[in-house]
């Protein structure tokens, strides 16, 4: 009886609200999104591989065993077989995840950081600065990506950091454009006017209000971009501009596998599948995050 009485009362209502808030929290909404969770699962497995490579890999990824090259998958001791030097493919894939995912995340971070800063400044300041920054970004966008990467890689030389830098730089303009577009919307929101009216400074407005509110699409884009960067690394490796040997990366495993597609198709296939899965994982996750963030963005 008493409970019933409170049915519509304040407690029940606030209870309800709490429940709803929980249910509507980004995390819980994401949890309900099956495909996104699947993506997150893949991403987590990959990250686990990255973190635990030392423990997970059964062999030294760079140890040559010239006697047993091109073993097929499920050979004794080598679940995924071996490569052209008799190196254990599983170990190389596991260690390769470090490079590939590090490159992808690193490149997204660099591109994201610079791109976001440029986008923020250019969207907020507008006018001449905006025009200059955006024309440069347009120019970079118009520059064919592969060519830009080739040239950057050639200038910078090979090596993990340079790969990160090259892909990162190539990513800057898209980030800058997205952020700028977002800033242009957010800076005219009424709550920004409200902040101006209380006398807040420009940087405060920009970093404490505009940036956080412009962030969601950036996060989404960043996740999707990680996926793209994994492919870019592979593409650079394909052109022979990626990571220096013997360091394993999925891209250079794939590339080497391509040269033995007939003898040992498993090398290209397995590394291709890992790339595909990871990209799929990040894409699904990114899509999921977008779905979760979207309705709120609209309101």
């Amino acid at each position: 009886m008493e409970r019933r009485k409170d049915q519509l009362g304040r407690d029940a209502h606030s209870e309800m609200l709490k429940k709803e808030r929980r249910a509507n929290s980004a995390w819980n909404m994401l949890k309900r999104n099956k495909t996104a969770m699947f993506g997150l699962g893949i991403v987590c497995i990959m990250l686990f591989m990255v973190a635990g490579a030392n423990f997970l890999a059964p062999y030294d990824p760079n140890a040559l065993k010239l006697g047993s090259t091109y073993l097929k998958p499920f050979s004794a001791g080598h679940i995924l077989g071996t490569d052209e030097f008799g190196r254990d493919l599983l170990s190389r894939i596991i260690y390769g995840s470090r490079i590939s995912i590090l490159v992808a995340i690193g490149a997204t971070f660099i591109g994201g950081l610079i791109g976001v800063l440029l986008g923020l400044v250019s969207g907020y300041m507008g006018g001449v600065i905006d025009s200059i920054v955006m024309r440069i970004m347009d120019g970079m966008l118009a520059f064919p990506f592969v060519l830009l990467s080739i040239i950057l890689m050639t200038i910078l030389g090979t090596g993990v950091f340079n790969v990160i830098l090259a892909i990162g730089i190539a990513n800057i303009p898209s980030f800058a454009r997205i952020v700028r577009g977002q800033v242009l919307i957010v800076k005219n929101e009424e709550y920004c006017n409200a902040v101006r009216v209380i006398g807040a400074s420009g940087p405060r407005l920009l970093f404490s209000h505009i940036l956080p509110n412009a962030l969601s699409p950036i996060i989404v884009y960043a996740t999707l971009n990680v996926a793209g960067a994994i492919i870019s690394e592979a593409a650079l490796s394909f052109l022979g501009l990626g990571i220096t040997p013997p360091t394993a990366s999925w891209g250079n495993i794939l590339r080497a596998g391509k040269d033995s597609l007939n003898t040992a198709p498993h090398i290209a296939t397995i590394s291709g599948i890992f790339i595909l899965l990871t990209v799929l994982g990040f894409n699904l996750l990114g899509d999921g995050i977008r779905d979760v963030l979207d309705p709120k963005m609209k309101k």
């Binding site: 050639t154 022979g240 040269d259 033995s260 007939n262």
Partner: protein, 520 residues
Amino acid sequence: GCGNKATPTTPVTPTTPTKAEIVVPGTPTKGGVLTVSLTASPKNLDPVKYTGTYESQIIQNVGDTLVSYKMDLSEVIPNLAKEWSISEDGKAYTFKLRDDVFFHPGKYQTGRKMVAEDIKYSLERSFKLSAMKRLDMIESVEVVNDYEVIVHLPEPNAVFLTALTNSGNIIVPKEEVEGWGDEFGNHLVGTGPFMMKEFKLDEEAVLVRNEKYWAQVPHLDGVTFKVITDMSQNANALRTGEVDFASGLTGEAVKVIREDANVKLLETPGLHVAYIYFNQVSGPTKDKKVREALIKAVDINELVKGVYQYGEAKPAALPLPPGSWGYDESLVSQVPTYDPAAAKKLLAEAGYADGFKTTLYISNTALRIKMGTILQQYFKTNLNVDLDVQASEWGTFSEIASKGNAEIFAMSWTWYPDPFFFLNKIFASSAIGSLGNGQGYSNPEVDKLLADALIATDQDERATMYKKALKLIVDDLPGIFYANENVTWGISPYVQGVVQRADGSIFLCNTEVNAWKVAK
């Protein structure tokens, strides 16, 4: 010794016992268009402007040189020149020309006879314009009569005749060259077995039979050279029948073709040396002991097996290919062999008991990367030397390597059988600063021998000098000369009469060969 060595005379025969080959009749038949794949794109077919071997494959089937190499590369034989004589001082070469040679008809002439003026024009043009300086040793060309010319050299030069065999020095008609101007490359006209019908950049070059070819009438209706840069696709194209002849196969493609019963693999040892060159001027490798240790730390046989998994090369020891007449089998035993313990000791003596760090520069091709990866392993396990492998694309690599900025670099060298094209280019002090001698090898004795060998005209005499120089070089341990690659062609069994040359040149019809294609 350095393991099983291939002698130049031993042909490498494709032996896969299980393979049931298609047998086709061996009598020449007329007709058919042969499709040849090239692994890189020919850019400019103007003989004085061409830079790559892919271009020469086409040029040499369209044009003829004054003299040429015999197909087995054993000697220089007459071609457009019936015969020649050399003056006493070795500074004047008199060539007697054939009188039955006609140019292909073109836009600016209708297939006129070739005469001495054309020789003068072509050679002088090459002398003046060739970016590659393919004929920089001549002074002037003198026309004696329509069928006789004298070429004057400022000083004797033993490789002059060799240089004349270069397809950069084919004889071309002035009218066409001047008529087309910059476009001449697209409308190449010569005296060769095939006439250029069409040249589509990065795509194909279409050649058709020259019915009036002076040597013999080609069996083939024509030849189409197609550009296929991707190696696996080269093999695929041969297997699907889209090309009849895949030149320059490497890697897995070799295996794929070898194992496919429907196609044939032709292999022959090439005029090729793959080597690792140590910096002679700076870094740890300046010390001969260190170099010796590094050489002893590597098992060449295993290395070659690892790099050339499909038997595309033989292990080597000397900086000259066995196919060169300067090659000296007896020197092979002087090259240090695999001995990790001794290597370690040597390195300790040199003051690097704990190893050191060094960098290997290579261009980023699969073969080079494989080699680097294995070398890395040897240096690390046997000497605790950390080898950082820097693979960059050719432009960057050559910049670093030629400036002497590489502690170690690796590349390969392939040219004519004349030792000059190996030893002078790689070991002469005068070559320091170019990619050949980027590591700064310098030995005055060697320099002297190499210089003398260039002006001597007698081949035996020269061979002795080169062998002496080779011995001195080998003693200095400048690097690891680990492999001689084969020239590897994949070919359809329907194509007959193709002869492989050790330098990889494709001649489909000349005085010695005349390939034909059997209709399926």
